[in-house]
């Protein structure tokens, strides 16, 4: 079983402190979501995990190996990262973009197994019809699905996604989230996701980590974490939390009525 362990991790850009002394343990075939206001360091945190950034102090261990001592290729074999957006200067087909996900495992040539894995990822993300399209011609939502497919093609033990549903329509949002939740269990994968949508998170996450003011504010199951009080403290907005299918559902209160009176 895969385990990510952070010990007293701090990060600052120059003098600007992002977060300090975070200690966390993420393990098991779970869908873990990180919530929090803008600029609180959610993306910075995940980038420390996959060695894109180096924490100012503290350590991150993956299966007891210090990330900073691991080679990028070894890391890429067990961990995939799905960025929020992507670009390419030159033309690149959807198929080529997703095939890149095989790089950490594949040799120089593309094997039949690589083709099968990619084919399955393309199917899963509903991209068969787009496979020869240039990724620069896709909509933001289609591109996001391509990036997720690339992450799946990497067959990781840990899948990290940065706001994977931000550009998707509601149907694809639900389908992607439902898929990720199932995928975590079926392929024994730890999925760590930075998210902004409170309700999507509440409906699907096995565990929610809320970051605020340079640290972890709350950590636990949706019903324990997403309370009216907590959301007021973290986001400074008034909400009403109701129960929908056994999960909390957050209703934002516009507060227009009060302003009038």
């Amino acid at each position: 079983m895969t385990e990510i362990r952070m010990e007293n991790m701090s990060f600052s850009y120059g003098n600007c402190n992002v977060f300090s002394n975070i200690s966390l343990k993420i393990e098991g075939s779970n869908l873990v979501c990180i919530l929090g206001p803008n600029g609180v360091g959610k993306t910075t945190l995940v980038k420390c995990i996959n060695k894109l950034l180096k924490p100012t102090s503290g350590h991150i261990y993956i299966n007891d190996n210090d990330v900073q001592d691991m080679h990028l290729l070894d890391l890429a074999q067990i961990m995939a990262y799905v960025p929020n957006s992507a670009f390419s200067v030159f033309s690149m087909t959807v198929a080529e973009a997703i095939l890149m996900g095989r790089h950490p495992h594949a040799g120089w040539t593309t094997s039949e197994n690589d083709m099968d894995v990619v084919d399955k990822a393309i199917d899963t993300m509903d991209l068969q019809d787009l496979s020869e399209r240039d990724i620069r011609e896709l909509s933001a939502g289609q591109l996001q699905r391509v990036m997720i497919a690339r992450g799946l093609a990497q067959e990781p033990e840990i899948l990290i996604l940065d706001e994977p549903t931000s550009n998707l329509d509601v149907k694809h949002q639900m389908e992607v989230m439902r898929f990720l939740k199932r995928y975590a269990v079926e392929s024994d994968t730890t999925i760590l996701m930075v998210c902004h949508d409170l309700n999507i998170t509440a409906a699907f996450a096995d565990r929610i980590i809320i970051m605020s003011n340079g640290g972890i504010f709350a950590d636990g199951k949706a019903e324990d974490v997403l309370t009216e009080d907590c959301i007021k403290q973290v986001y400074d907005v008034d909400v009403k939390v109701i129960d929908v299918e056994g999960r909390p559902h957050v209703i934002l209160l516009p507060g227009i009525k009060e302003e009038k009176t």
Partner: protein
């Protein structure tokens, strides 16, 4: 999508992705094979051209005899083909190949469609080295002359970048800016020498700078060939990683490619290749910029196929340019660098206008 779990009905037949992917591969390989055949035919044709009449059949016979070590039936014709025409033709083949490989790799790893083999100031360095030798008679290695000077100075920009990378991360922008600033420096110094040069030397420097395949001999060719073959094998080996470098440094790292280091290594290899070519032929422009773009427009940007594709296309382009350079004002020969620009430019413009799909963004 996920709810349709899963179109397993079509498990028997290959999926859309697999079918189209295979079709694309066939198309790409066909382009490469066609270019190779064209190169071969153009080489034979090219060897028939000149003041002494030799037919294509004779050329083929002469080359065949030379390779198998048989006696030549017409020693004069054999001498003309093998010692006078062939070095130049093979030179065009190898140099075109090398410059196109360098250009493709440079564009992919810099994520910049304007990059070419000379982007990093390789040409200005070489030009400066050549001017030193021609005008001041200064040789870095005594007896090495223009070639050694040009080669060594051509590698200086890459070495400077390598040195600076110890202090700052070598991003594409940093590399290109370094290359450009060194280019200005070298050009300024070269121009300073040219001001004090006498007319004969000045003309020699100028004609060196335009780039020509005159006077390349088999020994020089062998050096360029060895460096080109080794360099091309390495760059081809890196093809997947070059593709990945194109999608941004962060994504590349999470796919296991150490971009910062790999980019420097590829830069060194390209520099050696381009420096080898430039030091023997002078600055043959445009092949390295245009061949990758034209090939990319036809077979796509996957470096696994694009590298060999643009390499053979570059070779073809230089072979054709060489024919024109030799024949258009015969018996006077034009520098081939002028012709590559004159053919490549309009061809490039045509492709830009014709392609409704953008080749780059």
């Amino acid at each position: 999508m996920i709810l349709k779990t899963k179109t397993s009905g079509e498990a028997g037949s290959a999926s859309t992705f697999k079918q189209t992917y295979r079709k694309t591969v066939v198309k790409r390989v066909s382009f490469i094979i066609i270019c190779i055949i064209a190169c071969f035919l153009v080489m034979i044709y090219s060897a028939t051209l000149g003041s002494y009449d030799i037919s294509a059949g004779e050329v083929y016979q002469i080359i065949w005899n030379a390779i198998t070590g048989q006696a030549q039936s017409d020693p004069t014709a054999a001498h003309i083909v093998i010692n006078l025409r062939l070095p130049r033709i093979l030179g065009a083949l190898v140099c075109g190949f090398a410059l196109a490989v360098c250009g493709t790799a440079m564009q992919s790893m810099m994520k910049n469609p304007l990059a070419d083999p000379y982007t990093m100031g390789i040409s200005s360095g070489a030009g400066f080295g050549a001017a030193l030798a021609i005008i001041l008679g200064f040789e870095l290695v005594s007896g090495g002359g223009v070639v050694v000077n040009a080669f060594i100075f051509a590698t200086i920009p890459a070495l400077v970048i390598l040195f600076l990378s110890k202090f700052r991360k070598a991003t594409p922008t940093m590399m290109i800016l370094c290359g450009i600033s060194l280019m200005y420096l070298f050009n300024a110094l070269t121009q300073l020498f040219m001001l004090i040069a006498d007319p004969e030397d000045l003309s020699a420097v100028y004609s060196w700078m335009v780039g020509s395949l005159d006077g390349i001999d088999f020994n020089e060719l062998l050096i360029v060939l060895i460096i080109t073959v080794l360099g091309s094998i390495y760059v081809q080996y890196m093809a997947n990683q070059l593709n990945i470098m194109g999608i941004g440094d962060e994504s590349a790292k999470t796919l296991g490619v150490n971009v910062d280091r790999k980019r420097l290594v590829v830069l060194m290899v390209i520099t050696l290749m381009a420096a080898a070519v430039v030091s023997f032929t002078g600055i043959i422009g445009f092949v390295g910029l245009v061949a990758p773009h034209i090939a990319r427009a036809i077979i796509g940007a996957d470096n696994k196929y694009l590298l060999p594709g643009s390499a053979v296309f570059g070779a073809l382009l230089l072979l054709v340019s060489d024919i024109i350079a030799r024949t258009i004002t015969a018996p006077l020969m034009l520098p081939v660098g002028v012709i590559t620009a004159c053919i490549g430019g309009p061809l490039f413009m045509f492709l830009i206008l014709r392609n409704n799909k953008e080749i780059w963004s």
